[in-house]
Amino acid sequence: MFADLAQLTISGLATGAIYALAAMGFTLLWQTSSTINFAQGEFVMVPAFIMLGFLGIGMPLIFAFALTLAASALIFGVGFKRAVVDPMIRHGVLPLAIAAMALSLALQQGVKLVFGAEARSVPDILPDGVTRIVGVAVSYRDVGVLVISFVLILGLQLFLARTLTGRAMQASAQNPDGARVLGINVDRMILYTFLANAALASIAALLVTPIYLAKFDLGGPLGLKAFCAAIIGGFNQMHGALAGGLLIGVIENLTGAYFAPQYKDAAALVLFVIVILFKPEGLFGRREERRV
């Protein structure tokens, strides 16, 4: 009983860590540029297909991933900011959110058109196999996903907190006008967050697609869960996004095992509604005052 619960919790944490990577992207973009990126799931799905394209021409996995990372940074970092966010944000948050939804649909249908509707397998960078720790079966893959995700999240947090550029990024997010008068290049700081988001999404693709396979509609549920994770944790807190992602991963795993597998995917939404009703700023969020 305990072993099953522990095993489900660990594998839930591993899945949740992937949600957290995407959720942190939501938080980053919201904090720096008031962007709610409803195409976040597709920012994970498309790199998987880009990587498959590179693998298809015989490139080793590590090089295929490195090039995918670069391509994602260009398309979903620089391209997304310049072509979608910059022109749309002038009209407000809502038009930008709708534009992101449209982009999400376009990316889904574009991938379907080029690669078809079949799910495709993606090679795994993590080893197969299971080990036992105090009687609990733990897969190397789950441990690998957790370690990679935590190193990335910790690295990003340390970068933001411990480097001058990271603090300039925080300053640009908290008070862009105040940052500009100090000579901080706010536009460049915002671009860095888009690049960080694209990188997080590509790494999430590398971790999630070997299990869930690469399919044109992979991004929908993934993006929704990441969005719920960011809201549950508190949309204005990076560590909230991490906690939200892990919580959803564990709860949906436990729901699938102890309640009913068909309700597994609803767990994130139920949790989302409960948090919105009782703690609308999220578990770790700060209440924000907006002047009108």
Partner: protein, 248 residues
């Protein structure tokens, strides 16, 4: 902490500027003398803050020029102006609330490009503002209003400026703190820093200023030595919100 360079006069010549279709400054011309405090006064909407935004390159003038220390700097971006020792402390709260006091201060020196130089200048600011130094590791949001204003001014001083543009430094502060802030600005001017101040608290501001410029409708209505301006009946009518006829 005293600036090594002597102050630089700030000259605006025929500035026409505004926001979109709205013109705020209508051919504004005046000179703020070097190493003196010049206070801009006027009713709301007279264009006081727009003057600073125009000098600092935030609002691009449609006509006219800005000259500082003899160099034309019209429309220069913030980084170029900061490199020339021209700093701007806007109205309201300009801190980054979740960053520590130390990190807020450090960002004031981001254009210096040297961590060692930033650290050295920060020590000088801490020596000047011991209360800020005591609270260096706390979040900026934990500071009182007066301490926050001290931190903003200290951050501006990190660049050892030649020119300080400060907008409404007294807003939201207790009278004792306002007196301290004005005394600080007076001390800066006495060490050669050209200071331009926008201030609603006109009596107190003029008391520490050398020169004053009263704006109405985006033009200079009257200007002169601060002491004389305080006694001027037309300035008194401005305090009371009365209409001031344009001169010159």
């Amino acid at each position: 902490m005293a600036p090594e360079t002597s102050g630089a006069a700030v000259r605006l010549d025929g500035i026409v500027a505004g926001y979109g279709q709205i013109t705020i400054l209508n051919g504004l011309s005046f000179t703020a003398p070097a190493a003196k405090i010049t206070t801009l006064i006027g009713a709301n909407g007279a264009g006081k803050s727009t003057v600073f935004k125009t000098i600092f390159g935030i609002v691009r003038p449609r006509a006219g020029s800005v000259t500082i220390g003899g160099e034309a700097v019209t429309g220069f971006p913030a980084r170029e102006l900061l490199a020339r020792g021209i700093v701007y402390v806007p109205q309201g709260r300009n801190l980054f609330p979740t960053l520590s006091v130390r990190h807020n201060l450090e960002l004031g020196g981001i254009t210096l490009g040297s961590r060692a130089l930033i650290a050295q200048r920060m020590e000088a600011v801490f020596a000047r503002f011991p209360r800020i130094a005591e609270r260096a590791e706390q979040q900026a949001s934990a500071l009182s209003g007066g301490e926050q204003k001290q931190l903003e001014i200290g951050r501006a001083l990190l660049l050892e400026p030649k020119v300080v543009l400060i907008d409404e430094p007294s807003i939201g502060l207790a009278p004792k703190v306002v007196a301290d802030v004005f005394a600080l600005l007076r001390g800066l001017a006495d060490t050669g820093v050209t200071t331009l101040m926008v201030e609603q608290n006109v009596r107190s501001a003029l008391a520490v200023s050398d020169h004053a410029v009263a704006l109405e409708g985006g033009r200079v209505a009257i200007e002169g030595p601060a002491g004389e301006m305080l006694a001027n009946p037309r300035i008194k009518s401005l305090f009371l919100g009365g209409h001031m006829e344009q001169t010159g």
